[in-house]
Symmetry: C2
Subunit: 444 residues, 2 copies
């Protein structure tokens, strides 16, 4: 038993879960069209938020991100899943991390409503991440550090391998993790000194005017950003006009990504992107239905060298497995709470590394930047060991509501130092944006 485990043994048995509570938190973002794209025209960025209360005073916080209506439904399922945790000790949960994951995702009656997808999986993500937040806070480490300090065997024991053993076995995962073990320290130092690369989506929403976009891009360039994503897919002429505008600002060496948010059929995606190829996009994101593995593969083949990226709506590890097996994507965009939390994210990080596909997490929304930085940093330190072709999305919205918001400098994320998953929101924000009773919804 190493020192950390020994300490954990002392702390964990004293943490018993007393209650779990969901909160329906919504931000009225549709009023300003922040976050508007070709599919999601008027989102009210929302969090189905959960707090795990324990007898130790430590709380576990988690959330799943939605865009408004239905956030209450996620909260209902969070309450059902949360009740499975009451009376359990943190030690019981962390001594069998995969077993804990299966217990939350495997309730047979709720599983029928997915399985492992949609509302129930989103709710599971919030609850599972809240347990990891509790775990990290009890260990007094940020999540990325908690994960990096776990042994390869402990990491493997946290992964739900069900349905993915034809792509990666526990033994393969163990060997991959062991190969990186001796490089953790200097990689952590490298990230602390130089940060993790990022790109910004803040300038490119469909609801913004050309003037607003130009102003935002210039501001971002002045702040050290070199990689920009814009929303496309509603009007080819508008897409060309905006792409021209942004290329003017960022020059031929700036990196430009495009995001269609699922609006096209397969052939339409191919035709549209051939029209936009002259603007040299690094990738087209979500060109079609997130369920269409074979469709993504066909698009990828047809539009090379433009890359294909998807994942923010990829429902679970089984779909990511196939996107990798079918060579359907160039960039793997995990989401921290579309996948059912840390455990399932670990499965995808390992598979992506095995298939040689860079993980570039989806972020933005509410708290997604806060969540995913932990995964990318852990991926670099302990899984892929690589930074090349990898970057985390950044959107400059709503960070002010978090107790430990992301720290960005010069287009890079710098590693969080506070204990937990960085997802704890301020009490004042939880009160003001509570739906429908909070002040934000009663001021007009």
């Amino acid at each position: 038993m190493d020192a950390d485990s020994a300490r954990a043994q002392i702390i964990r048995p004293s943490v018993t879960i007393r209650s779990v509570r969901s909160l329906d938190i919504r931000f009225p973002t549709s009023r300003s069209l922040d976050g508007s794209d070709a599919m999601n025209k008027e989102p009210d960025y929302s969090a189905a938020y959960v707090i795990i209360y324990t007898d130790s005073g430590i709380e576990g916080h988690g959330l799943t991100f939605t865009i408004g209506r239905g956030n209450d439904v996620c909260c209902s399922v969070i309450d059902m899943l949360g009740s499975l945790l009451v009376g359990k000790t943190l030690g019981e949960l962390t001594s069998d991390l995969a077993g804990f994951w299966y217990s939350i995702t495997g309730d047979s009656q709720l599983r029928w409503l997915g399985p492992e997808k949609g509302v129930v999986h989103l709710a599971a993500a919030a609850v599972i991440n809240a347990v990891w937040d509790l775990y990290a806070k009890a260990e007094r480490k940020p999540l990325w550090k908690l994960l990096a300090d776990m042994s390869p065997k402990q990491i493997v024991s946290a992964i739900p391998f069900r349905y993915v053993t034809d792509a990666i076995t526990p033994n393969e995962a163990l060997e991959m993790l062991e190969r990186q073990s001796d490089k953790h320290e200097w990689r952590a130092a490298n990230i602390a000194a130089n940060g993790y690369p990022a790109y910004t989506t803040s300038a490119g929403w469909l609801g913004y005017s050309d003037d607003k976009i130009r102003t935002l891009v210039r501001g971002a360039l002045a702040n050290g950003w070199t990689e920009f994503k814009i929303k496309v897919g509603q009007d080819i002429n508008a897409d060309k006009r905006r792409s021209t505008l942004i290329r003017e600002e960022i020059g031929p060496d700036g990196i430009l990504m495009m995001d269609a948010n699922q609006v096209w059929d397969v052939q339409q995606a191919i035709d549209w992107m051939k029209e936009l190829a002259e603007f040299d996009p690094l990738w087209i994101e979500e060109p079609t239905s997130p369920d269409d593995i074979l469709g993504h593969a066909a698009i990828k083949t047809a539009i090379q060298p433009i890359g294909v990226a998807t994942g923010e709506h990829c429902q679970n590890r089984v779909m990511f497995k196939q996107l990798l097996q079918a060579e359907a994507i160039d960039f793997c965009q995990i989401d921290a709470c579309r996948l059912a939390g840390v455990n399932e994210v670990l499965a995808v990080l390992l598979m992506a590394a095995k298939f040689g596909i860079p993980v570039c997490p989806h972020a933005g929304g509410v708290g997604l930047c806060e969540y995913v930085q932990h995964f990318s940093i852990f991926d670099y330190i302990a899984v892929s060991g690589l930074l090349g072709r990898r970057r985390i999305e950044f959107v400059d919205h709503l960070h002010e509501h978090f107790v430990d918001p992301v720290f960005i400098r010069n287009g890079h994320y710098f590693p969080p130092t506070a204990a937990g998953c960085s997802i704890t929101m301020k009490r004042s924000s939880l009160a003001y944006y509570a739906y429908p009773e909070g002040g934000a919804w009663n001021n007009e």
Copy 2:
């Protein structure tokens, strides 16, 4: 304008939707282990039920099937989607059937929770089918007849082609339907005289003892059944013992299907089915995750000549499209309310016919037999035009709660004659099984 359309024009404008109401209906089936399988051990068969009230007195009824917990969550989403219908006339909805479908499945905030999968899609199915029930009742036809009497152009106008045009175009669908147009009459007569082939799952639940299974199989044989499905996947020795038992009863010419309800990984499915090959199963159903298109393709290749069947958890037309494109299945098991209702089922019927794969609907549950008979009969009359290799699942549970239950004779379904989708439940059953306030939940 033909006679039917002319009459419809007269009737429809007078039907205005006044309100939509959901009901949480649950049957305590876990007490007897009816419906138990390797994944779903203690289901309480349930219906998230919906009634559309109109000013004409005609009601549209629909339901989505769940197995207990979470049925209330489906009801919450039904209420949200139902509110989109209030004030609309039936004529508005039926004059643009695909547009109606997109309006229910396309609410951008609720779509985020899927998209097109899980709780929101299940709820959409109930609402969409209730509108079709209303439509068929207003036209005074059973659903299969309503569909068979629609022109090929009308059918095509009801289909959501989004995301499937790379597999089938509206023009292809139109040509396929037109090729069958002159054979409708004698096929309808054939089904009325001889019925539509079926198989029974009633004997094969995991929770049943060997004695109970033997008794049930003998009873079914005496009633003219020749095709039997059993649940497998929990214990290979038990599976062999039961398969031996059933083969003894049904003989070498009886048809035996097996259903694993998603319990295996890909290689495990292959290994397990090689062990059971000696019992000559027609198909293995749900050998692994319903999301694993490439996994099903691998299993299919490895275990030929045993067929691979799946679909009851296939979330939408995009997944069925890929199962067909990847040659991953031998039998396409549509579900009437996992797919988002009649419109999406039509898309899958057409694609399956184009790819030459027989549709053998999933049934059982609550009302699924009542629902799917309409689709298979319509498929035979107007789409595939074939009966060979096709059969509808039958489970002899809970039919007594329906106003127009299925009529089965000699292992065949006989076409319903009452207007609507056959899904209207008796008022007394709706009251007694209402959860949690009904008598069924307050007698112990």
